[in-house]
Amino acid sequence: MLDIGFTEKDIRQIVTRSSHNLYNFKNLYQYLSKSGINNDDFINIVKTVPNILSTSIENIKNRIILIQQLGFNKIDSFNIIKAYPYVLELNEEAINNKITKFKDFGFADNDIINLISSNPTLLSIEENEISQSFDYFKKLNYSNTEIINIFNKEPSLIINDLDKIKERINKFKVLGFTQEEIVKITSLLPNIFLDESNLLATKFNYLFEFGFDEENIISIIKKIPIILKPNYLDSLENKLNKLLELGFSKENIIDITNTDPYILLYSTDNLTNKVFGIKGLGYSIEDTINMISDFPLLFGYDITNIEKKIKFYKSINLDNYILENSKILIYNLDYIKSRWNFLKDSNCKDKLDLFITDKDFYKQYNVRSLDLIKE
C-alpha cells in the first residue's frame, strides 16, 4: 500500500473504517489499474469507501456492469466511480432512485446519461438540492424547458452557488437588460453563469469605447448573444480593426453593425473577400464602401447572388441607381424579374416602380406582384 502512495495515516484510517479485512487489496488494485484507474484515483476510491477492500472483485464487476446497463459507456462508468466512489456501495435500487429523481424534474433518459457522465458528482445530489435550483430559476421566470436546457448544457449549474448566479444576473440588469432578455440570453448561453472573467462587461466596455452607445450595445447582444462566448473576444477587436483598415469610418462601422450585428460574427477573411468581391464587379473601393454602408446585408449575401442582381440591373440600365440606393440588392431576382416583365408589357414610365411596395404596386397596376411569380 505504501508503494502505491498511501501514507501510514491513510492506512490506519482505512483499517479503522473498514472491517479490518484488506484481503482484496491486491486483486482490487490489479483490476482497477487494468481498467484505467491510476494510483491517485485508486487511493481516493479506497479512502472514500474502504469497505470495498472486503468486497469480492465479482461484486465490484457486477456493480460496474449495472452502471453500464443504465446506459453509460465503459469510460464514463469508471469516471463515475472515480468522481463518486460511493456508487460502488449502492445497490441497484439506490442507483435507480438517484436517476429517477432527475426524471421527476423532466429530464429525458438520454439527457440524464449525459448529465451524469459529464458531472458524476450529480449522483451525490439530494432531491431537495435539485428542487432548490429549479425553484430558483423558476422564480426568475425561466420555463421548465429553459431550465432543463440550461442544466443539460451546463450540468454543474444544478449544484452551483445560487448567489453567484444571482450576481451574474445582476450584472446584466445593471447594464440595462430586462429580465425577459436575460432569460433569453442565458438560456442560450448558460456558461455565462460560470464566467469568472466577466466577458459581458469586457465586451460591453470594448464596444462602448469604440463608440457604440449603451442602447445599441444591448440591442447587438440581444440579437447575437453568442458574441458573449469567449472565442468571439479577440475576433471582435480584429474585425472592427479590419473594417477600419478596409476603409470604413468608425461612424460607418457603428451604423452598419447596428443595422446588421451579424457582421461581428463573420470572419475577417470573409469581410475582406466580400469587399473585394463587390469591388471586382466593377466598382471603386469608395463606391463599394458606400454600397455596404447603405445596405450592410451585402456582407452576408453570397457574392454570386450579388453579382447576378447587379448584372440584371445593369441590363435594364439601372446600374447607376444601385450606387444611389444599394438597398435594391435586397430583392430576390425572381421577384424583381417578374415585376420587370410585367412593367415592360405595361409601358411603365418609371422603372423605379420596380421597388415600390406591393400595396402601391396594386394601387398603380391593379395586380398583386406576388401573383406574378410563377410557381
Binding site: 472565442n231 463573420y266 452576408g300 453570397d302 447572388n305 411569380i373
Partner: protein, 127 residues
Amino acid sequence: MDILMRYGFSIEEIKNMMDSNDELENANDQDILELINILIGIGCHEEHIMNIFNCNPFVLNKNIDDIKDLINKLKELNLKHLYIVFDSNPHLLNMSSNDIEKIYNEKTEEGLSSEEIVDYFYHNIIL
C-alpha cells in the same frame, strides 16, 4: 460537413461558416439534409440555399421543428413564396414563430394593416 460539400459549398465557404458559427461542427448531417429539403419545399433553388447558408450559417444548428413552426407562422400571415423572403432576409430563419408574432403585433400597434405588414417582410431588413 460532408453534406455541405456534397451540396456544392467550397472548403472556403464552409470554413467561413465555421468561423462564424462555432457550433456548426455539432450540426447533424441528417438535420441539414432535412433543412435543405424543407427549403426546397418552399421553393428554394440551389442558388437560394447557397445564399441563405453562406449569409446565415446559424440556421444549420436550428431545431427543425422550430423552422417548421416559423414557416407555418409566416404562411398564416399570408406570406407567399417564402423562398423570396428567406433569400432576401436569411437571418429571418433564426427567429421563432413567437418572434414573428411579436413583430406582427408591434407593426399592428404602429397602425399598419395586415397587407402592409406582409409588405414589410418583403421590403425590409429584418433581424
